[in-house]
Symmetry: C2
Subunit: 159 residues, 2 copies
């Protein structure tokens, strides 16, 4: 287990310079490795570049990175959108949460979600939501520990 | 149970004229009645009007109604957003699905989700997703019947 000083961890919006590291984080994961591109040729596939451009140009979609000693060690994406339900509630949704395996269990998850919660409140959101694969046992436990309630089933359909 | 001719059911984007009927649909529900405004005074609370304006002005957020013989009998909301995960996948998310109780079990759910699926494909989405409360037993069954897989837990945190 690494030693880590949380005061030296920076959380910020991703730039295109971070893309390679983010994609490697997404792929370095039990489920992710089956579905993300493996960057053997160190070239970023066009589909990621295209998605990044859409994300970057939308103030309500934030791709976030954790940086520590010039290394990208975590990422997540935050999406803010208005809904009519819950009396016209603005929702904050989190997707693509990853922490580099060698930096897990050091408090970075809580650190990231504190940032997310504050950002969501700043944006006027009334609810924070995400789905996590049922096979990710420790992730499910983590989310419940920080105050999420698993009231819902997350349904997916590949198109 | 009503008799219903699906050919006479129109699915379209909601206008502000539909708002009262939509809010009544959202509230006329086991879970919704605990959290939506009951429109006793027949006046639309400001929070819904504000959310509707945000939804209306965003081409990637669609508030949809089912209309039958000049009556609003169903609603849902579709949100389209780019993500970096799944190789830069655009996702379509569904929120706030309601069918008027007296019009349930007549095929309207399937009808609505056919529209949703086509719209999501038209918008370039690679995945369709939603969460449904675990206590909604028949809704959970319905989604699995039309091709969703309940791989995930849906986590919520009220802010």
């Amino acid at each position: 287990m690494q030693h880590l000083n949380l005061d030296q961890v920076q959380i910020r919006l991703a730039t295109s310079n971070d893309l390679m590291a983010i994609i490697q984080l997404l792929a370095d994961d039990e489920l992710g490795k089956q579905r993300e591109a493996q960057l053997i040729q160190k070239e970023i596939p066009y589909s990621y570049l295209k998605a990044f451009k859409l994300i970057e140009s939308n103030p309500n979609i934030m791709l976030v990175v954790l940086e520590y000693q010039d290394e990208i060690i975590g990422t997540l994406q935050l999406i803010i959108f208005p809904t009519l339900t819950l009396q016209g509630c603005i929702r904050a949704e989190v997707e693509g949460v990853r922490i580099k395996p060698s930096f897990q269990r050091l408090g970075l998850g809580k650190f990231m979600f504190n940032w997310v919660k504050n950002k969501a409140i700043e944006k006027g959101c009334g609810i924070l939501q995400l789905t996590t694969n049922k096979s990710r046992v420790s992730a499910n436990e983590f989310y419940k520990n920080i105050g999420f309630i698993d009231t819902h089933n997350g349904m997916k359909m590949i198109l």
